[in-house]
Symmetry: C2
Subunit: 436 residues, 2 copies
């Protein structure tokens, strides 16, 4: 059989990785796919460096639109990123009847509904394993491996930059800013790290995971997003003493009244597997009603790990090209005409446990006042620690661990607590997830 | 579209679980599969109890051959187990053009080559996600998620019974026999536990994983198998002190000269994720050349977790029924005509690190004698501990941790060491795997 012809858009780290792996393991991949998969044309702004890498084995051009319009290309691999030109290219590729493989989570989280609808109407596939958690086949696991289940809960460490920073903050006790600089030096954080450290990248990925899990359209705008830039080393130390670690978690949870969709730092028990996912590694915890708890772990970024996912999609698309489109796995796991309109809950309605830290004047009656406020807001306390402050013996740090409560109640209580004259600080609020 | 009709053979724990989940989540599953999947007929020896469960919604008969011969049935789910009658039923189902979904690792590990060849010649699928690691979609991950990779190494905790026993031995310090009895009481071990505790069940599963990873025929007879029944609590304690835990690992490794295929207890670093897989949980560590290290974790047994895998296969088969057979995922991940004849290496040729424990007379020169034997056998020592025996102050326990060595050399050295007059015991040899 003729080889299947791939047009590769973008020759950065992942693009080069895809070229390298597809060539290095060509025989192995063909033994699996039953057909040779060949990158026949590459579009990149840096034509010269690409030409020196591919060494005449593929045509290299500057204009990416050449590829999406080339009738000899069967599949477009989009590795440009962002949602401006990449979106135009992907739409035109679909329009021209080409299948698309992409690692572009930002584009799909924001424009996925439109893209998938267009692809379905054209009878082509848009595959995106590489868009979430790099080399971990998590899209496939959820979309095909867990089809028997009502997915109940997902908690993912799906941003390597922030997980590296949190691992380092814990092991070195250094503040966020210093560790970020170190991460930048090591190439683990970009010069403008906002998307990673503020949780936006994780929220893009989470948006896709939630749609795959619950059969809902992508709804990035409804995600609640908090990053780690405001996180204090002090809280990492306190969490450790209490038997927790702090991770930037991407969480989505099914509830009868709606879906929780949120990215924020969270305390999780030190003994759970997710706690032990260190450095730039990624992991996704998925609970289904039949399968129970499952976890998927691996490298969430990097040229070859991400290429592993891109190529897995290429093999799938190659196989399913000739299949009746109605028999293919639906883009968002559920048939497009059976997506649910379950609402995304506002953050005030989520329900979880909380870690609250505040500084108070160390005098009789303080604890009673605060406890009363918590009780009135219907918040019960699981445990409490009080420590005299080192810098001022007349003041104390208090940490409360609450039982599961509604965030709105917590926020109300915090407001009242902060208005007490004896309270000397803002209340630091962190969520706790009891993953098992 | 008409529902797809399934004949279910066997109504034990997994059969009942499959019925329950398929009915409870019928709507969710249909939203995914695009078609209703219906168990229309069930064969079981215990007709009455099955009838009371299915409550008229499916026909229940005693003779399983009725189902494999029923022209109205599209897919046979074989959950009888073993490789006698189940094998006959599966073969006849294939002969009659029916697809098969099975959880039967023993049958596939021993007769997989014949079964898959027959299925291919008939153009039907034999799906077996449930045969390895219960609900974890590990077959799909390796067969479809990692198609870009040369798989290098797999280490799995894929037998829940033995992992439960080892977890308990470590936490309670009780000997194997007592913990086994406890496991039997809890229903985690069978009354005849041989297949589990002697590593046979894990080897069945490993045989399948190795074929999927390396594109080789199933070769159960070439697997090296050791169980945990001879494992002493003492070694669990020593391992702990040295920073290791002992797990029953199913290991397969690619080497240019052949493939290692072995099940045995092994020391692994306490800090690695696999070490923290406790109780009846399963996990599989997979390293690919592009993706690097990955890990998949979940429940390896039980009615609903295993049903999760059975139903995922039913959805896949339902989707791919109408596909050109040549475009389906090959049974053993690689196209049947491109399987490799790489040999399985005999255990004497494997290469790993070792833990050696022996009891000696505590007198000058003993360590020198032993060290000399190790050096002559080309074994270098990573670390050594010597402890005076509590029950006899004239004797000492010595533990060596070796660097990576060839098993044949280790065995030769052990023979010579055991022949030294000062050596008072057999040498306990355990393998160490440096997973990361």
């Amino acid at each position: 059989m003729d080889s299947i012809k791939v047009g590769l858009l973008g020759m950065g780290v992942v693009g080069s990785g895809t070229w390298t792996v597809l060539n290095r393991n060509a025989k192995e991949i063909e033994r699996r796919a039953g057909r040779k998969i060949e990158i026949s044309k590459i579009a990149t702004l840096n034509v010269d460096s690409a030409r020196s890498l591919v060494n005449g084995k593929a045509e290299v051009v500057q204009n990416a639109f050449d590829l999406v319009r080339d009738p000899n290309i069967d599949i477009i691999v989009e590795l440009i990123g962002g949602d401006t030109i990449a979106l135009d290219l992907v739409k035109e590729a679909i329009e021209n009847g080409k299948h698309v493989v992409t690692a572009n989570k930002a584009m799909l989280a924001k424009h996925g509904n439109e893209i998938f609808a267009k692809a379905s109407s054209k009878g082509v596939m848009v595959a995106f394993e590489a868009a979430v958690a790099g080399g971990i086949p998590i899209i496939k696991a959820i979309r095909e491996g867990l089809t028997a289940n009502r997915i109940k809960f997902i908690a993912g460490i799906i941003n390597g930059t922030t997980n590296f920073i949190l691992s380092e903050m814990r092991s070195t006790n250094l503040p966020f800013k210093e560790v970020l600089q170190q991460a930048q030096k090591l190439g683990y954080a970009e010069s403008d790290p906002t998307f990673d450290v503020e949780g936006v990248d994780a929220a893009h990925k989470l948006t896709l995971l939630a749609s795959l899990s619950f059969g809902i359209p992508v709804q990035f705008d409804s995600a609640h997003i908090e990053g780690i830039s405001q996180l204090s080393s002090e809280d990492i130390v306190h969490a450790e003493k209490l038997g927790y670690r702090i991770k930037l978690l991407a969480i989505t949870k099914y509830r009868p009244d709606g879906i929780e969709l949120r990215v924020h730092p969270a305390l999780i028990p030190s003994s759970c597997l997710l706690s032990n996912v260190e450095g730039v590694m990624n992991a996704v915890f998925v609970r289904g009603d039949a399968v129970g708890p499952t976890l998927y772990y691996g490298q969430g970024a990097g040229g070859e790990p991400t290429a592993s996912a891109v190529i897995a999609d290429l093999v799938d698309v190659t196989r399913l090209q000739t299949a009746d489109p109605g028999s293919r796995v639906p883009h968002l796991a559920f048939q497009a005409d059976s997506l649910s309109d379950a609402r995304i809950l506002p953050i005030e309605l989520i329900s979880t446990s909380y870690y609250l830290r505040l500084r108070v004047q160390d005098q009789p009656g303080v604890l009673a006042d605060i406890s009363k406020i918590l009780a009135i807001s219907n918040i019960s306390i699981g445990s409490m620690i009080q420590e005299t402050c080192i810098d001022n013996k007349n003041e104390a740090n208090i940490i409360f661990i609450t039982h599961e409560s509604i965030e709105r109640n917590i926020n109300q209580a915090i407001k009242q607590i902060e208005s007490l004259p004896v309270v000397q600080s803002k209340v630091t609020k962190l969520r706790i997830e009891n993953i098992n």
